[in-house]
């Protein structure tokens, strides 16, 4: 005891002496003139206030999605026009050299069409969403979000820093899993890793946005429809956060028992974002990076799908068998076999789930020109989609196993197969339950 007491006394003496020195020197070399109004404090009082904190967060999230949806409309159309004009040229060239039918099907209808869909539908929303998100990050808003959410996390038995790892998850869940290193307690770090997948990463956002604008705001005027779509996407995100909290609560009372630890969170000063740098960096580091990843995976996937769709066993194509096999489960969940197949084949990267789905539908049905979002919508309607299918698609996109990269990262970070498997099984079960319940209620 005596020794420990001594240690503590010495430690206190050391710290107080250091602090005295620091204060003395700082006072000697610093001159503070009239500081005027402290804007940082004023803004902080507002954005972290009891009453305005949450509404402001929701509003900001909604505005970001709204700008993304409205802004992405026009360039999306332009890009797909461009790509399908080029497809015409490609077709012309293939006909000119009298290329075999299968080569044309594989390269143009399989690979090229899949790719152009990925680029024209995903690029514009990403190019708008990422810079906006990065601006908020640069501004210093994220720690305020962490501050607001802290007591919710605490009550669910998780660590308050989890809102930061979740924010990283918006960019990429693998990055979010790595970011969980900032949480010191192994128990809370595991919770953060296991639940990170419940925030939609940027591979899933474009799909959410597209589904929302196609199905969730039909029959409303143009101006308000984009507003409704934005609110739907924001609600999906909020749903993800609520499920994160629920699962954390569950985990910290079963597999990962324990109290949440406290921590110091510094609210950094607001800084004027470096707009140009943000634009350039978020475009090249995130947008192009994600797109390239999608393209890299989507191209071979397009070829694979084309083969699966064109290799027939007996009367039906291989892909039809697979989809048929999954169909009963899909129907129960308010989806269909093709959608489930797309999610399963999309394991390497979430970016390619929709392209795979489109390619599978196309290979089954008539070859229509997918030259716009409305044509895309028509394709889905022809396959029997309703707003419920779209809603459950969005929910299952939010609630299913993480992509291959994220799973590998989880394996590396936890060093355990058991946790990795749980990280895949847990959200999938939640997704199946949620979709089934909703389909049951509505149906």
């Amino acid at each position: 005891m005596r020794l420990a007491d001594n240690y503590e006394k010495n430690g206190d003496l050391i710290v107080t002496t250091l602090y005295d020195y620091a204060r003395r020197i700082a006072n000697q070399v610093t001159v503070v003139k009239d500081q005027g109004r402290d804007w940082d404090q004023l803004i902080d009082d507002l954005v972290t206030s009891k009453y305005f904190g949450y509404p402001l967060m929701f509003l900001l999230l909604g505005v970001v999605f709204w700008i993304t949806i409205v802004g992405a409309n026009c360039p999306s159309q332009l890009l797909s026009d461009l790509f399908f004009w080029f497809e015409g040229q490609l077709t012309f060239v293939f006909q000119l050299v009298q290329a075999p039918e299968w080569l044309y099907g594989l390269l143009v209808l399989g690979v090229y069409r899949g790719l152009s869909w990925v680029v024209s539908v995903m690029l514009p929303p990403m190019a708008i969403f990422f810079p906006l998100f990065t601006l908020l990050e640069d501004l210093g808003y994220l720690p305020r979000v962490a501050f607001n959410l802290d007591h919710l996390f605490k009550r669910s038995g998780a660590h308050g820093k989890m809102s930061l790892t979740m924010s990283m998850g918006f960019g990429c869940n693998a990055a979010g899993v790595i970011a969980a290193r900032i949480i010191e307690s192994p128990r809370e770090r595991l919770i953060a890793i296991l639940t990170n997948n419940f925030v939609p990463c940027n591979g899933r956002f474009p799909g959410l946005i597209a589904m929302s604008s196609m199905f969730m705001a039909v029959g409303i005027s143009m101006a308000s429809s984009s507003l409704v779509s934005a609110l739907v996407v924001a609600s999906i995100v909020i749903t993800g956060i609520m499920i994160t909290l629920a699962i954390s609560w569950l985990l910290s009372r079963t597999l990962l028992k324990g109290e949440s630890s406290s921590f110091t969170l510094e609210l950094p000063p607001y800084r004027k974002p470096q707009v140009i740098t943000v634009l350039i960096r978020s475009f090249f580091d995130r947008t192009i990076f994600v797109l390239w990843r999608a393209v890299k995976v989507a191209a071979p996937a397009g070829a694979l799908i084309w083969f699966l769709a064109n290799i027939t066993v007996g009367e039906y194509s291989f892909i039809a068998y697979l989809a048929d096999f999954l169909d009963p489960l899909g129907r129960i969940m308010g989806l269909d076999g093709v959608i489930l197949l797309a999610f399963i084949l999309g394991l390497p990267a979430n970016e390619i789930v929709i392209p795979i789905m489109v390619m599978t539908y196309l290979s089954e049905g008539a070859m229509i020109e997918l030259d716009s979002l409305s044509a895309f919508r028509q394709l889905l309607l022809d396959q029997g989609w309703t707003w419920l299918t779209a809603l459950n698609f969005m929910l299952f996109s939010l609630l299913h196993f993480p992509c291959g990269t994220t799973l590998l990262t989880i394996k590396k970070e936890t060093g355990s197969k058991k946790w990795t498997i749980l990280a895949a099984v847990l959200p999938t079960i939640v997704g199946i339950i949620v979709c089934t319940v909703i389909a049951w209620i509505v149906g």
Partner: protein, 227 residues
């Protein structure tokens, strides 16, 4: 093979990672939230035809090893044998930042202070007298606005002069109350077996605090020194 090893320390959110990126040309995104640099990032730059390796340590408020970040930062400055340590300091909250500077100065005299965010300080009507700060601390102080690249050439120059022994630093010595100073000098006598590279006064202070984590690092260094 690099000529010099420089470690970069600082409180969270002082623009440390921006300094790092600016110097090394790496394009890591620097987010405005604490705890981003959990692991050390490594980068390189050339100055006057010599290669410098820059190690970006986790942002910490102190080096008392209460958290993994603090331990990583402390172990590197103490046992990593860097040729110089740059401490990035936020000019808008000097007092809090100086705590870290003082702790670094207790470990090593090879220190350059990078007084960052002076533009922000100016906007807040805070004036820091860099020359006077340098006199007080006994090490070079360079004013910078890292995000606009201002002052970084001068920082490189000061690092260059320091590692070549062209500046002699005279780091501020912290005098503790007599009761503690007596214990320190008693303990230092018993630490004569420690290798030259370790600062005995600093080790004594940690031992007096009952810091266990330091022992492992010392064992490691001692083993290397004798083998």
């Amino acid at each position: 093979m690099s000529d010099y090893l420089i470690s970069l320390a600082g409180n969270p959110n002082t623009g440390k990672s921006t300094v790092f990126n600016r110097l090394t040309g790496l394009k890591q995104h620097t987010g405005n939230w604490p705890g981003k640099t959990v692991l050390q990032a490594w980068g390189f730059y050339r100055y006057q035809n010599e290669q410098y390796t820059l190690v970006d340590l986790p942002g910490t408020y102190s080096l008392l090893a209460h958290s993994p970040e603090e331990q990583v930062a402390r172990d590197f400055i103490c046992f990593g044998q860097p040729d110089a340590t740059v401490v990035v300091v936020d000019a808008t909250s000097l007092e809090r930042n100086l705590n870290l500077v003082l702790q670094v100065l207790e470990i090593t005299s090879q220190v350059v202070v990078c007084l960052n965010l002076v533009d922000e300080a100016k906007r807040k009507n805070i004036q820091v007298n860099a020359a006077k700060l340098g006199d007080e601390l006994g090490v070079p102080v360079v004013e910078t606005v890292a995000r606009r690249g201002i002052g970084l050439k001068e920082l490189q120059e000061q690092i260059h002069l320091l590692v070549h022994g062209k500046i002699k630093t005279n780091p501020l010595k912290i005098h503790y109350p007599p009761e503690l100073e007596n214990k320190i000098s008693d303990l230092i006598k018993q630490l004569h077996y420690l290798p030259e590279s370790l600062n005995k006064r600093w080790v004594a202070l940690r031992l007096l605090e009952g810091d266990q984590s330091i022992l492992r690092g010392i064992q490691e260094v001692t083993r290397l020194a004798f083998s």
